[in-house]
């Protein structure tokens, strides 16, 4: 008998998504902004029901769907991210996009897909949730129907995304054929120290498919184009939420299903991590568009997260989770500041940020905080979480990889500082002051507080995450 109480957040999310879609039909255009506020309120309400489930351990539908602290941590993270995106997107959607209710509804559908991904205990459930997430993002990327670049981003994303999904699916079929099961724990039982050729090929295809979804080098080609072409709120969402969901699924799959064969696949993940860290951070340097800069920076961040996946100890999983939480707050802060600036000016080139410190001192300050945190300077989330993640990876003997990651973090400071230099040193070519809306200002303040709070006092977050990741290995 399935205990439906444990699925309340998922039911509420589905209801909320369709409710927002329906509201779009009945509300007059002038009031559609309230759909976003209502959606954010709904998501925050669902966080309460997620919190009430903490400490529960259950395997629903015969182990297809797992509820544990690990899944609930991600659920909370995705719900909060969704609420932030709704509030940050509202102004932008009203000014530049049509069909507001559908946009917000799709954002909530993506939250639902991500919560299922991190709860999946079996490959079919994981695959369906991953496809739901991908389809949502294909549509969200192409949402600015009047913008040719957005159309192009959508088509590129679906062609490459569907191709990688097909490879992933073929990999799953080979793993199923070799082990006779699709349950993560069943795969662990069938996987020994040596793998059959079929299983090995399946594993390679599986890793390639997921690497594509996480935008890891050499499967990253789509990311800069899609990030640049997609509407800004979509890019923000894609860069944090989709990445977090893929890593949430990967960590569970690898720790519960593929841990016995760690010696076989570890070097593949290490290679992906090293390539992502190096390419992401080096190619970010010559970028002139802020979205492309943040795209390459997020490829580098995917590399840091892969370091944790390659280590795969309870400590390293905690490191990945802590870094994901800090990265989510930081990147959302950076993107929300860029959205606020773009809403007022319509510019997204880095040189257009010249003089931002005079025109919008608050935005410039918060964007500076976000850039320092992304680069990993002390007192901000980026430093604390990276330190925790790299320490855990070093304990597993991945010293040279950690050294490379630390060195590339220093390199990354250069291109983040270039943005700050534009804002504070170069004179403005336009004079009027910018006044971002009340809601955006509030969201920015909360995110900046989160970035600093995680940076100076990460204790409570780390303690909860450690209980969550221990459960994964029991």
């Amino acid at each position: 008998m399935v205990d439906y109480k444990l699925l309340v957040p998922q039911f509420l999310l589905a209801g909320l998504a369709f409710g927002l879609l329906a509201l779009d039909l009945v509300l007059p255009p002038a009031r559609r902004r309230y759909i976003a506020y209502l959606g954010a309120l709904g998501l925050v309400g669902i966080v309460l029901s997620t919190i009430s489930l903490r400490g529960q351990e259950a395997a629903l539908y015969g182990g297809l769907f797992l509820i544990d602290n690990y899944a609930l941590f991600f659920q909370g993270l995705f719900l909060v991210m969704g609420a932030v995106i709704l509030l940050a997107a509202e102004d932008h959607v009203r000014k530049f996009l049509g069909h507001a209710g559908e946009y917000y509804g799709l954002v909530v559908v993506a939250v639902l897909a991500m919560t299922v991904m991190t709860s999946a205990g079996e490959l079919l459930t994981a695959y369906i949730a991953l496809e739901l997430l991908s389809f949502t993002f294909y549509v969200l990327s192409a949402y600015a129907t009047r913008d040719l670049r957005s159309n192009e981003a959508g088509v590129k994303y679906i062609l490459l995304g569907a191709f990688s999904s097909a490879l992933l699916l073929y990999g799953i079929s080979l793993i199923y054929g070799a082990t006779g099961t699709t349950y993560f724990r069943g795969i662990a039982g069938a996987v020994g120290g040596t793998l059959s050729p079929g299983l090995l090929l399946g594993l390679v295809l599986l890793i390639a498919g997921f690497a594509f979804k996480a935008a890891a080098v050499p499967f990253h080609m789509w990311a800069p184009d899609v990030y640049e072409g997609a509407p800004l709120p979509t890019t923000a969402y894609l860069s944090v939420a989709a990445k977090a969901a893929v890593f949430g699924l990967l960590l569970r799959l690898f720790s519960q299903g593929l841990l016995p064969a760690i010696e076989v696949w570890r070097w593949v993940i290490v290679a992906l991590a090293a390539a992502s860290i190096t390419v992401g951070n080096l190619v970010a340097i010559p970028q002139t568009n802020i979205k492309r800069l943040l795209a390459y920076s997020s490829i580098g961040q995917a590399g840091y997260l892969l370091v944790g996946l390659a280590a795969l100890s309870p400590q390293a999983v905690s490191g990945v989770l802590v870094h994901l939480a800090g990265y989510a707050a930081t990147n959302l802060l950076a993107f929300t500041a860029v959205i606020a600036y773009y809403n007022e000016t319509g510019h997204e080139q880095i040189e257009d940020f010249a003089g931002a410190a005079e025109r919008a001192p608050y935005l410039a300050l918060l964007l500076t905080i976000a850039m320092f945190s992304l680069a990993g300077l002390p007192f901000f989330a980026g430093f604390t979480t990276k330190f925790y993640l790299f320490t855990a990876a070093a304990q597993e003997g991945l010293l040279w990889l950690v050294g490379l990651a630390a060195a590339m973090s220093v390199v990354s400071l250069y291109y983040y500082l270039m943005v700050i230099k534009q804002m504070y040193i170069h004179p403005s070519r336009h004079s009027p002051r910018l006044r971002p809306g009340f809601v955006l200002t509030g969201v920015l303040g909360v995110l900046a507080f989160a970035v600093v709070a995680i940076g100076v006092y990460p204790g409570p977050l780390v303690r909860f995450i450690e209980t969550a990741s221990k459960g994964l290995f029991s």
């Binding site: 192009e152 088509v155 062609l159 054929g177 006779g180």
Partner: protein, 103 residues
């Protein structure tokens, strides 16, 4: 001659190869979508064959194939809608000519 697991897997591998070739070599966006559908069906053949020969008492593979068919339909719907949107604005579905964004 008995038809066994290896025959089905050979068919699946051939389908996958055709799909891979089409997806990588074609320039028409609709043709690429069709090639991807062939790849998905290659996986379906493998799923059903494994279900029959590896786990005859369980239906896991067949259920998987049913879901994949549904996903493939959704993918065609979203994919064609996006291609149609780009055709309306640019009058082309040639993937090499859609290149405003440089990667």
């Amino acid at each position: 001659m008995n038809v066994g697991l290896e025959h089905y897997l050979a068919l699946s591998a051939v389908l996958l190869t055709i799909g891979l070739y089409g997806a990588l070599a074609k320039r028409n966006a609709v043709a690429i979508l069709m090639a991807i559908e062939i790849m998905l069906n290659a996986a379906n053949v493998a799923f059903v064959a494994f279900s029959r020969y590896v786990t005859p008492q369980l239906l896991t593979g067949q259920v998987f194939a049913m879901f994949v068919i549904t996903v493939a339909a959704a993918e065609a719907a979203v994919g064609l809608a996006l291609v149609l949107a780009i055709y309306r604005s640019r009058r082309t579905v040639d993937a090499t000519q859609v290149d405003m964004l440089k990667g």
